[in-house]
């Protein structure tokens, strides 16, 4: 296409100025390819990956570079190619599409690069996948809601995630199968929530334009219970009148689950203990950090399973417990909600504990600092 010799000459001249990374040679060169950076979950997951990479057990072994692909699968394909070109040994990736990356992932595997997908799945068999069972998430939460509503049943509102994604389709389908088995449960409205508290509020407001809280007995939301509880309070309900909500693992929602009147530093309604009837689940944001840890293990020659199904982090009113500091040790002892004075953002995802990642705690998720 163009004068190859000219290019080579220019390249040689410029390569003298290019930075030489000699000491990086001993470290494993690992890349992180993230999706859209513009939401809490992604930022938290990225922080935890960075914290993991800088933990003393890995800091000497790993040189991590982070790239963002945006919402664009085409671009992630190109980014993965570029990472392979740049000499990656392993790539930790939040896959924008479970299928669109298959070819490029296969190419990377053929070149000996190890691909670790977190949170969502890559269907190409050579990739390592680390995620929760989405069908289980949909089923368990729906069963909880059916149980709460009892033999009487009732009207429920369903708020789904991003249409056209596997995660949303699997969760929603599994939940609806449960609801279909109980004819006294009636879905009176269904809206697309895009996994965002802000969208959940807009959609619920639209639904409430023609419905009233008095005729809704339960909520199944992939994200939005925190907002739904806030809206019920605004509509004049008392905390003990909040309807059961099966939904996300946001810290705001977790704090609302604490018994009414619990003293919590920094709490202000609606980000306050309400004794709200809830089941809280999430795709845990530590999955990226775990993927990185497993990637290093794989590079060191250890056996790593191709698929790691993470335990579904379910929290109900019976198991909710406030953390004081948020260290990994403390979370291991069973706490699962954080003080608003430490986590000012109620939409922040609280499911950050894993038996397998003692390197990262609350500081990791908040600011990317590993545990000591």
């Amino acid at each position: 296409m163009m004068g190859a010799r000219l290019l080579l000459a220019g390249g040689l001249a410029l390569s003298l100025i290019a930075p030489m990374t000699a000491q990086a040679a001993q470290k494993h060169k690992i890349f992180l390819s993230m999706s859209y950076i513009g939401n809490d979950w992604q930022a938290e997951a990225a922080n935890m990956v960075k914290a993991m990479a800088s933990h003393k057990s890995l800091a000497d072994k790993v040189s991590l570079e982070v790239q963002v692909a945006g919402p664009n699968a085409q671009r992630q394909i190109q980014q993965l190619n570029a990472m392979v070109q740049a000499g990656a040994e392993a790539i930790v990736v939040y896959p924008i599409s479970p299928t669109a990356l298959n070819q490029v992932v296969k190419n990377a595997c053929d070149k000996g690069v190890k691909i670790f997908a977190y949170d969502a799945e890559i269907t190409e068999p050579c990739a390592y996948n680390i995620h929760i069972d989405q069908e289980e998430a949909g089923r368990k939460t729906a069963e909880w809601l059916v149980d709460k509503l009892g033999s009487k049943g009732g009207n429920i509102v369903v708020i789904t995630g991003v249409p056209g994604t596997s995660v949303d389709t699997l969760r929603t389908k599994a939940a609806k199968e449960v609801f279909a088995k109980h004819p006294n449960i009636k879905i009176v409205a269904e809206a697309v929530g895009m996994w965002s508290q802000a969208v959940a509020r807009t959609e619920l407001s639209k639904i409430l334009a023609t419905q009233s809280w008095d005729h809704i007995d339960g909520l199944w939301m992939q994200v939005g219970c925190y907002t739904a509880n806030a809206m019920q309070l605004e509509a004049g309900k008392k905390p003990n009148q909040l309807i059961p909500c099966a939904g996300e693992g946001s810290n705001g929602g977790r704090i609302q689950m604490l018994p009414l009147g619990t003293e919590v530093e920094g709490a202000a309604s609606p980000y306050a203990p309400l004794g709200a009837s809830r089941i809280s689940y999430a795709s845990p944001p530590y999955s990226g950090a775990l993927a990185l840890k497993l990637a290093v293990e794989a590079l060191e020659g250890k056996d790593v399973a191709k698929t790691t199904i993470l335990p579904l982090p379910l929290v109900t009113n019976d198991t909710i417990k406030l953390c004081q500091e948020g260290t990994w040790e403390e979370m291991k002892a069973g706490c699962n909600a954080f003080k608003p004075s430490i986590v000012p953002n109620p939409g922040w995802f609280a499911s950050i504990f894993s038996e397998q990642t003692p390197e990262v705690g609350l500081e990791a998720a908040l600011v990317g600092q590993p545990e000591k």
């Binding site: 410029l14 939401n39 945006g70 699968a73 740049a86 965002s196």
Partner: protein
């Protein structure tokens, strides 16, 4: 001044006829090519090893989908059109292929499936083309409706990623044309390029440029405008179809969302390639290079290890620089501004207006109006406002129909105050954005920086306020001031640098996104104060306080556009910037004012959304960009500027909000809702269609 400049450049052209004219005509293309080669050298230089044929082949296939789609978009833009359905067509073709191929068959015919993909694309193009060419509807809103409809159809074909595309397709499109020398994607693009050169040499090619430059002139010259336009959309659809085939080959499977996010990149590629939005100048070859420039930027950012937070900023800056580089010449707006600045400075020192330098009073002599003569009776209201009424009415009629449908279907609507209250609260965001976006569109521009102006404003406000009402008192002015600065930068970019509004605001949007990420460090903290929350969710006499605000806002907006000198100048600029300038309208100042108004509105929406949600989130403005454009057009404004009324836009806001409210209250699957939404928007604009004059 400009006449002498024109004479000078003409004289220059005469001295060196061949090269000068050739360069002038293809400046955009040539600059794009130079930028690409430079970027390529940079990538090559800073990469660890030198790029092998294998890397080269990877890069070629990486940008091919975007390049093919950009070719189609360019052909539409050359005719003066606009196509928002490109990404949706790519997704549709992808799922159609992935769901209809037999996974058990060992081989698949490349020719057959390629033709199938192109055929699907052409069919969607024909759908767009019929509405645009024969019903004379505005391209932006027809293709927006098509986009929604196609997204729905795509989800009906395949509800989640899956399916199978035969490896033969991948082997063909990603393989080598000449092993070790020429990758197939390059050959494919060369073939498309040659096909275009052939098309360009035909009557159809000449007609494309002719109707893009001036469709009335083209019609007078005997060009069949409608047919050419229809064909342009069909050819473009075929290109998107081919892009869809390519991405299917590349990914080996289907994903209903794969093409949608490509849309903004497609526009960026077209603009980088030197094609002028509005039509008549440029060409697909430049757009292909533009696509590869965008792709190389990703590689450069990767190799330089630019922090993720800065990547959107870097992209925005590169986009701006590339477009500015392409426009450097003696008669570019920037050069003009610099020359005029010198002149203005001289005039200012002499205490005169620029045009008074070196000459006496050139004002026209005007007879004073005769006193006491019979004043012509003002025509009645409905005749004076006939045009505004005609264009505003369809939105309101459809709005009433939607409300009736909601009442019949869901109940609790038309006769319940609660419904109306919710409707107005939900409409408030778009109603405010409609004024800003509407004013920009009235001048013939477009503001794509709305999403992150909303986002950054909300995040800043929540961050400063931290739940305190006292803090709100100073946070609000700070946020509004920052929004005004954003608008000012947009306006200066458009006026002084001569960058097209789409590029300028797209670049600003990326920079604002980076700023929001840096400020919030990825997780926005803070929440709205009790007072602001009450304003959006509380009650005065059964009505949410913001309802009263919306009413006051509507009055201010109508007055601003219809009754103030600023409003009249907006219409004057939109009807013809040059005519406005010669009539003494300060065009530059008006444009800057319009962009500041738009950012002010976006900033306000950021504040209100934060109050509504209780906190701010990243990306909270994303879902308001396309609706903000749609409501303006559905309300009877014309995208090329000069026509439209705020009350019409308000009708568009009410229509779309009522429609979404009805769909949200229903149990319909999302795919069906998307299709219905698209059909109603399309129906609204069919009623707005231009009459042939």
């Amino acid at each position: 001044m400009s006449v002498s400049a024109a004479l000078r450049s003409e004289a220059g052209g005469r001295r060196r006829p061949g090269f000068g004219i050739l360069f002038a005509r293809h400046r955009g293309l040539i600059t794009a090519a130079i930028v690409f080669v430079l970027l390529f050298i940079v990538v090559n230089a800073i990469s660890a090893g030198h790029l092998s044929y294998f890397d080269f082949s990877f890069m070629a296939s990486g940008g091919a989908t975007l390049a093919l789609a950009a070719v189609g978009e360019t052909i539409v833009i050359l005719t003066g059109g606009f196509d928002l359905s490109a990404g949706a067509v790519i997704s549709l073709v992808n799922v159609v292929l992935a769901s209809s191929m037999d996974p058990t068959a060992p081989h698949a015919s490349v020719v057959l499936w390629t033709l199938a993909g192109i055929g699907v694309g052409m069919a969607t193009g024909a759908f767009n083309g019929v509405f645009i060419a024969f019903l004379r509807l505005q391209p932006i809103v027809v293709t927006l409706s098509t986009m929604f409809i196609l997204q729905g159809v795509t989800l009906l074909v395949m509800e989640k990623p899956g399916g199978f595309v035969n490896a033969d397709l991948g082997g063909f499109y990603l393989g080598d044309a000449v092993p070790g020398r020429l990758p197939m994607p390059v050959l494919l693009l060369v073939c498309v390029g040659l096909l275009w050169l052939y098309l360009k040499s035909t009557r159809f090619g000449a007609a494309l440029y002719a109707i893009g430059s001036d469709d009335d002139a083209a019609r007078s010259a005997g060009v069949r405008v409608a047919l050419t336009r229809l064909l342009a959309y069909i050819v473009a659809g075929g290109c998107y179809g081919l892009a869809g085939v390519f991405i299917s080959a590349q990914t080996g499977s289907g994903d209903p969302l794969v093409g949608n996010p490509l849309l903004l990149s497609i526009f960026a590629a077209v603009v980088l390639g030197g094609t002028r939005l509005g039509g008549g100048r440029g060409g697909p070859v430049g757009s292909m290079i533009g696509a590869y420039i965008l792709m190389s930027v990703v590689n450069v950012l990767l190799v330089l290890n630019v922090s993720a937070y800065y990547s959107t900023i870097a992209e925005g800056v590169i986009l701006l620089l590339a477009v500015l580089a392409a426009s450097i010449s003696a008669d570019s707006d920037l050069a003009k501004q610099i020359r005029f600045a010198a002149l203005r400075f001289a005039a200012w020192r002499a205490g005169a207006l620029p045009r008074q330098i070196g000459g006496g009073d050139r004002r026209l002599r005007r007879e004073p109006p005769a006193r006491g003569g019979a004043r012509a009776a003002a025509p009645p209201f409905w005749i004076r406002n006939r045009e505004a009424l005609r264009y505003a009415l369809p939105a309101y009629v459809l709005f009433v129909l939607v409300v009736i449908a909601t009442e019949l279907w869901l109940g609790n609507a038309a006769f319940h105050w609660g419904y109306w209250n919710s409707l107005i609260v939900l409409s408030s965001f778009l109603a405010i954005l409609a004024l800003g976006q509407g004013a920009v569109i009235l001048t013939g521009g477009l503001d794509l920086s709305v999403p992150w102006t909303v986002g950054l404003s909300g995040i800043l406000l929540a961050g400063i306020v931290q739940g305190s009402d006292q803090a709100l008192l100073y946070a609000l002015p700070i946020v509004i001031a920052i929004a005004l600065v954003v608008g000012f930068v947009n306006g200066v970019g458009v006026v002084a640098l001569g960058v097209s509004p789409i590029v300028m605001t797209l670049a600003t949007n990326g920079i604002l996104q980076g700023a929001a990420l840096l400020y919030s460090n990825g997780t926005p903290a803070g929440f709205s104060s009790p007072w602001l929350r009450w304003f959006m969710t509380g009650k005065i006499l059964d009505a949410t306080p913001v309802v009263f605000f919306v009413m006051a806002f509507v009055i201010v907006a109508v007055t601003l556009l219809a009754r103030t000198p600023f409003g009249r100048r907006i219409y004057a600029v939109g009807n013809g910037a040059r005519a406005a300038k010669l009539s003494g309208v300060p065009v530059g100042r008006t444009l800057i004012g319009v962009y500041m108004l738009s950012s002010l509105c976006a900033g306000l929406v950021g504040v209100l959304l934060t109050g509504f949600s209780g906190q701010a989130s990243l990306g909270m403005g994303d879902e308001y960009l396309l609706p903000s454009i749609a409501v303006v057009v559905v309300g009877g404004a014309i995208i090329t500027g000069g026509r439209g009324h705020y009350l019409g836009m308000l009708g568009g806001v009410l229509l779309l909000t009522a429609l979404q409210t009805m769909l949200a209250g229903s149990n319909l699957p999302y795919a069906t809702r998307a299709i219905l939404y698209g059909l109603v928007v399309l129906g609204a604009v069919v009623a707005l269609r231009e009459e042939r004059d």
